[in-house]
């Protein structure tokens, strides 16, 4: 009987496949740990080709929640973090994991809910709106994933004088997922939800949802960018990473951010020159 299994040929195939995978693994690009809002809103799809063209840096984006993104960077698995929770970012800097935080841009949060607004929060200020939702036990979807939006939501409950960790019922659904998943769930169950405006505007499965509360300055959502500290993680590509950051905060990068529009509406407002942001 002849051998149908030729070890040399098989080995050659395996080696070729392995080499192919190696070629994939090679890269001269940076990893940016960022948030689901920057990806789901389509900002990165728009921005990254411009970054590549202007700076030569190829950016690989990990869309995670702010908490997870900072954790990825702490482990040394990202070169740059681009997130939106100032308190968490400052903690990250204080621990020595980041070099410097640069403000980049802002957008704002909005409270989304069913168009017919059963709890009657439309047009109210944000703390009254949250108190009303709680008083009427209207269904509310919370991200519950330590993301920037989740952190902002918890802060807003606090400002409304509600201890949401202790004082919530079955109306408050913590789903532990991204912004899109939270919006999908709110859409399917006609619930209220806090979202960043960018993701909301780009979101396609709106159902009966609409923006009910907006424009309150407590709903302000600031994005910052930081290079991961090369002193802590020697593998950080600091040169390319810094080049990416420098471009983002340059007048050219800021203009590009301002130029991103969905349905004619601007999603992000550059403010790198505001030192307090």
């Amino acid at each position: 009987m002849k051998r149908w299994f030729n070890p040399i040929r098989t080995l050659a195939v395996i080696v070729l496949v392995a080499l192919g995978s190696q070629a994939w693994a090679q890269d001269n690009s940076i990893v940016v740990a960022s948030t689901t809002s920057t990806q789901d809103s389509g900002l990165f799809d728009y921005l990254l080709p411009i970054v590549k063209q202007k700076t030569g840096v190829e950016v690989k984006v990990l869309a995670q929640g702010t908490g997870q993104a900072l954790d990825t960077a702490r482990r040394g698995d990202a070169d740059v973090v681009f997130v939106h929770a100032k308190s968490a970012e400052e903690k990250f800097l204080a621990e020595g994991f980041g070099v410097k935080r640069y403000p980049v841009m802002y957008n704002d949060f909005v409270i989304i809910g069913p168009k017919d607004d059963p709890a009657g929060i439309k047009g109210k200020d944000v703390t009254t709106a949250l108190q009303t939702i709680k008083a009427k036990a209207a269904p509310f979807v919370s991200r519950g994933d330590r993301s920037g939006t989740h952190i902002a939501e918890l802060k807003l409950w606090q400002q409304a004088g509600v201890d949401i960790a202790k004082d919530h019922g079955p109306w408050y659904k913590e789903i532990g997922q991204g912004m899109g998943a939270a919006l999908n769930m709110a859409s399917a169950s006609n619930a209220y939800v806090l979202s960043d405006r960018g993701t909301w505007l780009a979101f396609k499965n709106r159902g009966d949802l609409a923006v009910l509360v907006e424009g309150d300055k407590r709903l302000f959502n600031q994005y910052g960018v930081m290079l991961v500290n090369p002193a802590k993680n020697p593998t950080v590509k600091k040169e390319a990473g810094q080049r990416f950051i420098d471009w983002l905060i340059s007048p050219e990068g800021q203009a590009a951010i301002a130029g991103y529009k969905v349905d004619g509406q601007q999603l992000f407002y550059p403010n790198a020159n505001d030192p307090k942001a």
């Binding site: 002849k2 990165f44 990254l48 040394g76 698995d77 998943a181 396609k204």
Partner: protein
């Protein structure tokens, strides 16, 4: 029902226009999953065979473990590989986290128990039927095992397809170790997860339809390939069939 019709239309339009982004995603999906199932197959077949025909101590326990691993949750594998490959993990110096290589490793580990368990079952049966005959004829154990693999080749193909099926449909592990980076580690399944989170439900479903078509294509190709090989092998086997 509108969503489904919409999805079908979108799937058709994506295929007809050979959408560039779709091509990239399909390429990564097939590349990663085929490589992983091939690795799992190459490692799993000898292990499954050995488990079937070698009487080693603790074999029963090994079989129980392998069968239990069939239910290995992809997220857990993903998380474990993530911690191993992370820069602050033991294999961090390789620098392959968030690359297709990391995805191949994770899927290989996921697919291996399937190959081992299926091959073990088949080879145990085949060994029961023909094993003694081979040994009486004076064939060595490895030699007999090789011949048995030929006899059980249809089952081998099933084992490979089952492994591939698990790999191509899996999302939990690769989204953690691959990071769903556009044009690099984005696959059919991670793209579906992403489009769902963007609220593009019918587009996500369209991608799902294409994934099923892809899966069918691979299955059909293997079937035809298997048939072609079977024809040839039958010829060879009739010349060299062991005299029992």
């Amino acid at each position: 029902m509108n969503d489904f019709i919409d999805a079908l239309e979108k799937a058709a339009s994506l295929i007809v226009h050979l959408d560039a982004e779709l091509r990239e995603i399909v390429f990564v999906s097939l590349g990663v999953s085929l490589t992983a199932s091939l690795f799992a197959f190459t490692i799993g077949v000898p292990l499954g065979t050995a488990l079937a025909i070698c009487h080693i101590r603790g074999r029963g326990a090994l079989i129980v473990i392998v069968n239990a691993l069939l239910g290995l949750p992809p997220v857990v594998v993903g998380l474990a590989i993530y911690l191993l490959l992370s820069r602050s993990g033991p294999l961090g110096s390789l620098g392959i986290l968030f690359t297709p290589m990391a995805m191949v490793i994770a899927q290989t580990i996921l697919c291996m128990p399937i190959v081992i368990a299926l091959v073990h079952r088949m080879m145990a049966d085949a060994w029961g039927n023909y094993g003694d005959a081979f040994l009486v004829d004076g064939a060595s154990r490895p030699r007999a095992a090789l011949s048995l693999m030929c006899i059980a080749r249809d089952g081998m193909l099933t084992a490979f397809l089952a492994a591939f099926g698990r790999a191509i449909s899996e999302v939990g592990a690769i989204i953690i170790v691959g990071g769903n980076v556009k044009d690099y580690t984005r696959t059919m399944t991670t793209a579906i997860a992403l489009e769902t989170s963007k609220g593009e439900l019918s587009f996500a479903l369209a991608l799902g339809i294409i994934l099923v078509i892809l899966s069918m294509t691979v299955s059909a190709t293997s079937f035809i390939l298997g048939h072609a090989l079977t024809g040839r092998w039958n010829l060879r086997r009739s010349q060299g069939r062991p005299q029992t």
